[in-house]
Symmetry: C2
Subunit: 310 residues, 2 copies
Amino acid sequence: MSASALIGLDWGTTSFRAYRMTADGDVIERKEAPAGILQVPERRFDEAFAAQVGPWLTAEPGLPVVASGMIGSRQGWVEVPYAPCPAGSADLVNGLLHHRTAGGVDIRFVPGLSVRGQDGVPDVMRGEETQILGVLAARPETRLLVLPGTHSKWVTVENGRIDGFATFMTGELFAVLRQHSILGRLMQGAETDDEAFERGVRFGLATEAGSGGLLRRLFSARTLGLFDELPATGINDYLSGLLLGAELREARGCVGEAATRAGVVIVGGAALADRYRRALALADIACETFEGEAAARGQWVIARAAGLLR
Amino acid sequence: MSASALIGLDWGTTSFRAYRMTADGDVIERKEAPAGILQVPERRFDEAFAAQVGPWLTAEPGLPVVASGMIGSRQGWVEVPYAPCPAGSADLVNGLLHHRTAGGVDIRFVPGLSVRGQDGVPDVMRGEETQILGVLAARPETRLLVLPGTHSKWVTVENGRIDGFATFMTGELFAVLRQHSILGRLMQGAETDDEAFERGVRFGLATEAGSGGLLRRLFSARTLGLFDELPATGINDYLSGLLLGAELREARGCVGEAATRAGVVIVGGAALADRYRRALALADIACETFEGEAAARGQWVIARAAGLLR
C-alpha cells in the first residue's frame, strides 16, 4: 500500500466519489457510491462519510480531507458561502470551511463560486470550481471550458483564475422534455441517429430571427416527424442536438465570439463529451476533451495551496 | 325551443365542446364534457358523439354538423389532410371531409392548416383555423392574432385569409418545468406575484446576447431565489413571465416588427388572456382580447360558405 497524503471527496447531489491520493496527487484508490446528498437518509452525513471513507482513515489516521460539491450547500453537510469571481486557488483556500466530524476527522469544504452576469443576474457553481482548478493544473493555457451536464457550465479563465461563467439548463430541459412532453411520447427506439443529431444542432445554432428561438424550434421535433421528414427513431437525437446547438449559440453570445476562437476544453464523461465535440465542430469552435480526473486533481491543488500535504 | 340550423363540434385532445346554433350563428345551447379524443375509450367516437349530441339530433333530425379540432387528426375519428396556407374560408370549405356516422349523421370535418417557415420547417394547426375564421367574421380588420395555450400560435392574416403562423411550446414547457424540474421544486405557495411575473417578462424579452437565451435565463429562476432576490412564492409567476416574454420576443422575430405594430388580437381564456395582455404591454405591443365564442362562430362561417345552412 502506497503512502497516502490526501483524501478527496467529490460529493454531489446524486453521486459520491472519494479519492485516496499521494503527495503528488496521483490517485491510488477511488470509491464511487450512490450516496449523493439526496440519497443520505435524514442528512446523516457523518455516518455516510464513515461508511465510505472510514477504512482509509483507520489504515492511515490523520489524512487530510478536502470535500467539494453540493455537500457544501444549504442542503448538504455544512454550508460554505460562495466565493465571488474572479477566483483562483488562493481564493478557494481562503474560503475553505473547516469542520470536524463526529468521529474527529478534519474536513475542509471547498466554497462554490458566484458571479453576476452583465445583466445583473447571479449565477453559481459548486464542485465545478474544483474540477476547473484540476484542469488548469494540467493545462495552464486553458481560457474557456465547458462542463456539460444537468446544468451545463461555460467558464472563462483569466490569469489562472476563474473569471466568470454562465449556466445553461440544457441537460435538465432535455430530460424533462423526453420524459414528460409530447416530444418524448413521439420518440421511438433507442438507436442513435447521427444525422438527426446534426440536423438538430444546426437548427439550434441558426441565428435568423425568422426561425424564432427555442420555444418555436422545439415544436419542429413534432412537425418534422408529422411530415415524415424525421423518423420517430431520430427525434431523441434531434432534440438532443437542438438543445445542444441552442446552448452553443447562447454560450457564444455570453462569453463573446472572441473567447471561443481559441477553443474550448470539455470536462465531462465520454458520451456527453462526444456529443459536445460533434456539436462544437458544427459551430466551428475548436475543442479538446480533458481526460484526467479533474475533481481529484483540483482537490489536490487546493490541499497543496492550503499547506495540508505532509 | 328556437329553430336550430347547425351543430358545431370543437373536439380537441382533452376537451369536447358542442354548440347548437341558429341560422345566424347565435349559440342557443352549449355542451362541454371531458371527452377529448384521448379520453374516448378505444376510439369509440361514434358512441361518444351520440352520447353528447344525440338528444339534439333526435329533437331536430337532419341538422348539419361541422367538427373542428384534433378529432380530424390521425389520432381522431377521421384524418383530414392539412390545407396549406394561405387559406381562407373557401379553402377550408374545399377541404371539408364528409363522413357519415354509424347512426347516419353527416359530419363535415374541417381541415387543419400547414405552413412552411422561411427556414423550411413545417408547422401545423388543427382547430385554431376555425377559431380564427370566427374572429375574422367579427373583426375583419384583424391582421395578427395570438392563440395562447399548450402550443401557442401566432397567426398573420392577409386579405381575409390566414397567411402564415408559428407555434411556440410555451404552455407545455411551463407545465413540465413546474411539475418535473428543480424550478418547480423551489416554488412555494399558490398566490400570484405580479412583480415577479413582470420581472420575468422583462428578462424574457431582453435581446442582449450577453444574457443568453432561454437555457441560461431559466436558471435565473433558481439563482435569484438563492440570493433572496426573488421570493420562493414568486418563482411560479417569474417563470411564467420569463417564458411568455421569450415567446413575445421570438414571435416578434417570426412575424416581423412591422406586423406587431398594428396590434394583436388575443383569442383565449380569460386568465391566460390577462397574462398575455400584461406581457404585451411590457413589450409595447397593442392588443385586444376577443371575447366571443370563436370556434362556434368559425364553424358557422364555414357551414354558411359550404351552403349547409337551410
